[in-house]
């Protein structure tokens, strides 16, 4: 999932929240959860954000300093796509509880969504400074470094990768709180054990952790040394336990990606990026998603086909929505077949169709070679 797409796909991604909301408050206070908070978590889980917000505000009215409540409020704002408010909350939280890595991490996720990678980097380095073995922050930091590197390369080589779907592995996680249940963050683990345990089922069920975690792990190993200079993090090369539930499949879609591996994950990213480009009417990215030898319909010349697509997409007034529903990926070496339901909505037209795409690997990208709809 790319950073760009993150914004659009947030609703899917943030479903993870459920898993983590529990967590809260590792180290600090709140020995007794007010009854309200589990309700808030449940409401978030159900996507009832305004109601969740009412509850959490009520909760906070009597305990304005409460970290757990504020944290949840930040999550709700994030879910409601109000990054400014969310950033404000997490910023103040990190000021009041500088020892907590989670607010920093979430700040970083929000900054990264806004492409403010320098700020994201600073926030993650703070998270690691407070918790040198905070695996999620390492993974995120690796992604942010890669993104910053890509920006630097763009400037060095006058590339234009910002639009193209080249943002590979930038799957910034949406994991908002690492719970102590993950053995990662030590303090007061016992207190939270129970809720954590409740949380666990979800990720476990949904997360046949993608092998991509392996590369990710190696990313992390390289990071501490590097991070050691800017931050005085002791950095004892923590090999992060594979606890990052990388792709907690959102349940509404009947978990098609049951058997995910890194490659098919990349294929899915490519398809999602394609759909996103279509929605954004970003013709450069959209046409860039197709291989040079893409089989155009009826064998029409590429130029002609591009012109037609441009007219149909960029030339269309109003909002376009393209949803990739229930994708199934079949890998075959350097090619992959993806079948999905395509839900298309535009002013005056909405359609659903079964689509099959053949993608081929080109360098580190997957490009569409054939596209058929029924």
């Amino acid at each position: 999932m790319t950073i760009t797409s993150l914004a659009q796909n947030r609703f899917q991604q943030l479903k993870t929240l459920r898993a983590l909301t529990i967590g809260l408050a590792i180290g600090f206070a709140a020995p007794v959860f007010a009854d309200n908070l589990p309700d808030v978590q449940r409401l978030i889980k159900q996507g009832q954000y305004p109601q969740a917000m009412d509850k959490v505000d009520a909760y906070l009215s009597s305990r304005p300093k409460d970290a757990q409540g504020r944290f949840l409020k930040g999550l709700i704002y994030t879910e409601m796509n109000k990054p400014t408010e969310a950033i404000a909350i997490f910023t103040r939280l990190s000021e009041d509880y500088p020892e907590l890595p989670e607010p920093y991490n979430n700040l970083a996720v929000l900054y990264a969504q806004q492409r403010q990678y320098d700020k994201a980097r600073t926030a993650l380095e703070m998270a690691i400074r407070t918790h040198p073995s905070y695996a999620i922050a390492y993974e995120n930091l690796g992604d942010v470094y890669a993104k910053l590197a890509s920006q630097a390369y763009d400037k060095a080589l006058q590339l234009d990768s910002a639009n193209a779907a080249t943002q590979n592995k930038l799957a910034l996680i949406r994991d908002l709180i690492t719970t102590s249940g993950k053995a990662n963050v030590k303090p007061a683990a016992t207190v939270v054990t129970a809720p954590a345990a409740i949380a666990v089922p979800a990720p476990v069920a949904a997360a046949p952790v993608k092998p991509a975690v392996a590369p990710t792990a190696s990313v992390v190993t390289t990071t501490p040394g590097a991070a050691a200079q800017p931050t005085p993090a002791p950095a004892p090369v923590p090999v992060p336990p594979k606890l990052v539930e990388a792709k907690p499949t959102p349940e509404p879609t009947p978990a098609p990606t049951a058997k995910v591996n890194a490659a098919s994950d990349d294929v899915l990213k490519a398809v999602n990026a394609w759909a996103n480009a279509w929605e954004r009417k970003d013709m450069k990215a959209y046409l860039g998603a197709y291989a040079a030898d893409f089989k155009t319909p009826k064998g029409m010349p590429r130029k002609e086909w591009e012109a037609e697509r441009t007219k149909r997409i960029a030339g269309k007034g109003g909002k376009i929505s393209v949803q990739v529903d229930g994708p199934e990926v079949t890998m075959n070496g350097d090619s992959a077949t993806v079948k999905f339901r395509q839900h298309y909505k535009a002013p005056g037209l909405s359609s659903s169709a079964s689509k099959t795409m053949l993608l081929v690997r080109s360098g580190n990208r997957w490009l569409i070679k054939e596209e058929t709809a029924r």
Binding site: A156, L157, S218, A226, A227, Q229
Partner: protein, 425 residues
Amino acid sequence: MPSRKSLVLGLVFCLAGAPLVYRVFAPAVDDKLARSAATTGDERSSTASGLPGTVSDSGPETQLLGIFTAIEANRLGDALSLTEALLRQHPNYRLAHLIKGDLLLARARPIDSFGAASDAPADKVADLRAEAIVRLKAYRERPEDNFVPRYLLQMQPDQRFAVVVDTQRSRLYLYENDVANGGRPRFVADYYVTQGKLGSDKYVEGDKKTPIGVYHVTANLPRQNLADLYGSGAFPINYPNEWDRQRGRGGSGIWLHGTPSDTFARPPKASDGCVVLTNQDLDAIAKNLQVGLTPVIISPSVEWLSLDDWAKERDELNASIDNWRQDWESRDTDRYLKHYSPRFKAGGQDFAAFAAQKRQVNAGKEWIKVKTDNLSVFRNPGAEEVVVVTFDQNYSSSNLTNRMKKRQYWQRENGKWKIIYEGSA
């Protein structure tokens, strides 16, 4: 996954090929790397001996060196903060952006090459790599003191500065005419430069090469009259000169100029033949350039002389020139003509025609006086031993007086300096 150390090594080797690295890391690297390092080591020992004593620290070379030293020492965090500092100073510095990209990417995953961006255009990476190499080389190979470019044998008193360009090293050296010290060239500063896309030794229009020879600045074109490509200003030079034309060389519009606004520096080989400096460097030398006066000597590979050898060569030439002058005054035309090469050619005359004319003219003279003022002597770069001699000639005789600025090309033939071209300058 390659070890962190090998990653760092790869970066440094690709880039710097520095002897220092070789010494430190050679046992750990594979044959190919060791070989390339050994090669650079050899190059160094054979070329470093004659370079000038001081290399200016004005450009980003100091910072680049700091960055690569930090990388060698595996202090990647330091390297990154130095790179970021360099970028604050020069936000359009593409090389620094590339290094920054590598240093950041190295945190995300192991990298094994310079410019490790996926889909990085190979030619652009190669350009930046070439820039890094020439800049570091120019900085690291600090030669001995008291060496001067062989070309600057004698500047005329009002030539305050001279420019010497070394195209292989992508370097421009600025020298001051140290009149108080007998006109000895005194090193002022040196700068990274860009030459023609296809190198040097220009021959025809459009060959995208930088000319080799002795030139001077002919104009000063201010920024407001120029396209952005030329950056902060431009100084045309007099290519093709008399000698170039005589040898059938063509083309025009060779300038020293600045850099377009979208980049801090251009690759070592990128122009259509011009010598390009960064804008800050062009501004720095601009105040020292005198239109019509400042020599610009472009060499494929600058030869350096110790001050002793330099003085010897200069004395020898000055003596030859003065003998020519005296022999002219003697009205003994045979003696006078001995200074001219049988291959002499000027103004449509070959040696025979020139000799016949001189005999005829001298026959009618009762006396001749020749004074040479404002003498300058510059050696022409290249394998042929040619010097360019320019002076104000004050000629008087029993039946004619005349003043002119004269330019001669002298070539050493069988150990003797002979005039192969002369004309008004």
